[in-house]
């Protein structure tokens, strides 16, 4: 069989360029993040935040551990439900509700990840997809808790006496959580743990020979990734004040994968770009009453897989590396 051809990551660019490029990028990203709800309508801005976390969580696995999870909606959605339940029944302030949701997602990821990491490659994708479908069915049948097909309505978002009913203020209230999640992802990737993941991705046999417990590393990455996805899913539930069964559906998992591939596998910036691209695209399609968004996103995705496998950010990064 041909060997792994997923794009390389972590290749040290020239040191001097890197020293200036990184902080400049970071500053630009922060400025955009702070300005965003003043430039586009606020609901869209909040959606961009949530999906950014989701895409980053998928890329954490695909780009750095070489594991394609095709069932990440399970964590995004289960956190959305858990966050909703915590907010509705316990009236928790929203950051705690989101934290509880993300922890629930991580908890669910432990048994699923334990089973899934026993397989690699395409099997891993199928196994994660299958378990996510199981969770979807459970949520669908467990109507007394989840509301079944009707979803969970009027999820409150509270923080002390602050009025967060306006999405403009909710955006700024949610931003620290999102930045925290992104920082966590960045920290994971650039830690010794992250380097071992990359080593396992590139040569599992050698990593095992060096004494690394490969399965345990993958499981840890899976659970951490589910936690990050859960942060996004919990915020998504609060942003819409509604949790639908769609948050658990495999098309939602697929959407996150599309974002990562379009943005560029193995680059956290790519996941941000890819998610923004897809969210804005789908938003403008629905504004224009375009009835078949899958046609366009599916088409762009097919073209990207065929012709443009480095993705948006990957191509830009490769261009600058070549100079």
């Amino acid at each position: 069989m041909t060997t792994d051809v997923l794009p390389e990551v972590g290749r040290p660019a020239r040191a001097r360029a890197k020293r200036f490029a990184r902080p400049a990028l970071l500053a630009a990203g922060l400025i955009v993040a702070v300005w965003l709800p003043n430039g586009i309508y606020t609901g869209l801005a909040v959606d961009l935040l949530c999906w950014a976390l989701f895409a980053v969580s998928v890329d954490l696995l695909l780009g750095y551990a070489g594991l394609l999870s095709f069932g990440h909606a399970a964590y995004w959605g289960s956190s959305a439900y858990a966050t909703g339940l915590l907010a509705v029944h316990l009236g928790l302030p929203f950051p705690l509700a989101v934290l509880g949701g993300a922890l629930t997602a991580a908890l669910i990821a432990i048994p699923v990840g334990f089973l899934a990491v026993k397989r690699v490659g395409i099997y891993f994708a199928m196994v994660t997809l299958a378990f996510a479908q199981m969770i979807y069915f459970i949520a669908n049948e467990w109507r007394s808790v989840t509301g079944g097909e009707n979803g969970m309505q009027s999820v409150p978002r509270t923080l002390g006496s602050a009025d967060l009913s306006d999405n403009y203020y909710f955006y700024y209230a949610a931003l620290p959580i999102v930045l925290g999640g992104l920082w966590l992802a960045w920290r994971i990737v650039h830690s010794p743990f992250g380097r071992v993941l990359v080593a396992i991705r590139d040569n599992p046999a050698r990593a095992r020979a060096l004494g690394y417990p490969v399965h345990r590393y993958k499981l840890a990455a899976f659970v951490l990734s589910a936690f990050v996805a859960g942060l996004g899913g919990g915020l998504f539930a609060l942003a819409h004040q509604f949790v639908s069964l769609d948050t658990l559906h495999w098309t939602t998992s697929g959407k996150a994968v599309i974002m990562v591939v379009l943005g560029g596998i193995g680059t956290l910036w790519g996941a941000l770009f890819g998610s923004s691209f897809v969210v804005v695209l789908e938003d403008s399609l629905s504004q224009a009453d375009f009835a078949s968004p899958g046609l366009l996103t599916g088409g762009i995705f097919v073209l990207a897989v065929l012709l443009f496998r480095r993705g948006l950010w990957g191509s830009v990064a490769a261009f600058f590396r070549r100079r």
Partner: protein, 294 residues
């Protein structure tokens, strides 16, 4: 007892669809190492093909049973040549992603044309009655579906084990490089085998049209159950995929019939995935699969 046998028969019929889809998936995977996500969408196209032929051209079920799989085989050949072929040298995940994208496109195309409500398709008149199976009466059409799928599975098995073509395909599946070294042109079999696997999915779709709701998303959730089936059976094993397909069908119908009332739907729906979990714990390579490298 009679009721139990009847339910088991129902399960075998429902397993027929899983087995046919798993068979196509396994045949394609064997030679191409491609997991065809679009397999469920092709199944849906098969059902819609039968519906469209009847609705617009007035063609009978029997004509559709031949024409639709042939037509979809051509579609499969075109897809393989135009898209899948370009990615076979890369990580197999890329073709998984590609066929996922194709699934979204196919589903939305059908949705845009025929809407999301189910389109009606009548059972062919020759099979509208029921058959006396000794202990119980059973709808003739269901007997036909079961007989067809068993015949096809046995036929494919005979093709693979008793013919020269089958020998080449099996050799190329197990040791592609070695087979090439013997001077056998493995590449020329790839496109026909893909077309064949796609035709099997299309055939399953035609068979499903009179029995199940013809709907743009009818294959979407089914394909994930089929994924669980092939993980349980071992994707490399054609026998395993087919056998597990039938077994899961039977178990699901049993659960629907005999599980406690309020748990029925949940148990029937989650059962394939729970079984998959058990198999992953016990035999990660699948019941009939071999351990993959790495």
């Amino acid at each position: 007892m009679t009721n139990f046998l009847e339910q088991t028969f129902n399960g075998l019929v429902s397993g027929s669809f899983l087995a046919l889809l798993a068979l196509g998936l396994a045949v394609i995977f064997g030679l191409l190492r491609v997991v065809n996500f679009a397999h469920g969408a092709i199944y849906m196209l098969g059902a819609f093909g039968a519906y469209v032929l009847a609705d617009e051209l007035g063609l009978s079920f029997w004509a559709a049973l031949i024409a639709v799989p042939l037509g979809l085989a051509v579609v499969g050949v075109v897809l393989e040549r135009a898209f899948i072929h370009r990615l076979t040298r890369l990580d197999p995940l890329y073709n998984f992603l590609l066929t996922f994208g194709l699934t979204l496109i196919l589903q939305d195309l059908v949705k845009a044309r025929y809407g999301v409500q189910s389109s009606p398709y009548a059972v062919p008149s020759a099979l509208s009655g029921s058959v006396d199976l000794g202990l119980f009466e059973f709808p003739a059409y269901r007997v036909f579906v079961l007989a067809m799928s068993v015949a096809i599975c046995v036929g494919v098995w005979a093709l693979l084990t008793r013919t020269r073509i089958g020998m080449v395909v099996r050799a190329a599946t197990e040791r592609p490089e070695l087979t090439r070294a013997f001077g056998i042109d493995v590449g020329r079999w790839i496109t026909p085998v893909f077309g064949f696997g796609v035709a099997l999915a299309g055939l399953a779709g035609v068979l499903a049209a009179p029995m199940r709701a013809v709907h743009p998303l009818m294959g979407a959730d089914l394909i994930i159950v089929v994924f669980a089936v092939v993980v349980i059976g071992g994707l490399g094993s054609i026998f395993g995929s087919v056998a597990v397909g039938f077994v899961i069908g039977v178990l699901q119908v049993w659960a629907e019939a005999y599980a406690p009332e309020s748990w029925r739907a949940l148990i029937a729906q989650t059962l394939p995935f729970l079984l998959m979990a058990v198999v992953l714990l016990w035999r990660p390579a699948g019941l009939f699969g071999r351990e993959e490298t790495a």
